[in-house]
Symmetry: C2
Subunit: 174 residues, 2 copies
């Protein structure tokens, strides 16, 4: 990771590693208010957030105030509408793009293919995982890509409430 | 849960909720020695362990000393070979069977459909989840069934080594 940009991913998950029921049902109604507060406070420290198109469609209203980059495959040239820029990360050098925009702190908010994109391209410095005390038995996985073992380091563990919501902070081992 | 039998599931997982690369590659070479010790010590407290057929084929050598029940769909009548009993849980009342055998402490060792079977049938009192500090990006999920939100309670959190292997203990909220 030569870039001086800091990439931080935020993931809220069930015990069994599911972040939503399905692609179209990405609502966060099962996450705790403690996690929501942590998440909103954290976002304020970032210059920009990155989401996939499915996540954007669901989180749109919450993202209106924020600089947002939306990964989308059905676009050739980047296009900005309000605070959101739509771009295809396969058609440009995304690191050059971030640098040109002078972004220093980037928040990655999913879904699974977006998390995996940053992991694969070694653009992931920190990972916050909030584990809510549920089993889903099915649903959207945290990461979606080819099998590859990536080692991280656990930096901290915090119990966020009485129900047992856990906040784990991992660092990428580069 | 009217039964006095205590059901405890043990799961070792990646950060992203994967318990193996694939059904045929269930080796635990990525889990820590600390977790292995905890796991073996725990098993000594149980009367019997339950595994699915895929898990059994891979863990066979380690299970030779233990009373083992192997869930298998291609069998009509239960069949015992050495310390292992092969049975189809859909063709008998499994709780009656456990009672008839006077089992009091049952360890559930997976895979995903076996974990889900016990969850679905409300035969899961405790769940130990060991999170090893890896992302897999793909692989076998912890639970495999229909989507259903099951609430658990977090009882304890333990950091098992310097790498950040975490042991979480959950209780079923009945």
């Amino acid at each position: 990771m030569k870039s001086k940009i800091k990439f931080t991913a935020y993931i809220a998950t069930s015990i069994d590693g599911r972040i939503a029921k399905s692609k179209r049902s990405f609502s966060a109604d099962w996450t705790s208010s403690e996690d929501w507060k942590f998440f909103q406070n954290s976002l304020a420290r970032h210059d920009v957030v990155v989401v996939g198109h499915n996540t954007y469609k669901i989180a749109k209203n919450n993202l209106q105030k924020r600089n947002t980059i939306v990964f989308i495959s059905k676009i050739i040239k980047p296009k900005t509408i309000g605070s959101a820029t739509f771009l295809n990360p396969k058609l440009l050098n995304i690191l050059d793009y971030f640098n040109s925009m002078k972004y220093k702190n980037i928040a990655i908010l999913g879904g699974p293919r977006v998390y995996n994109f940053f992991l694969e391209h070694k653009m992931l410095n920190e990972l916050y995982v909030t584990i809510e005390p549920y089993i889903f038995s099915n649903g959207v996985p945290m990461f979606s890509g080819k099998f590859k073992k990536t080692k991280l380091f656990l930096q901290s563990v915090k119990k966020m409430n009485k129900n047992g919501t856990l906040l784990l902070k991992y660092k990428y081992a580069n």
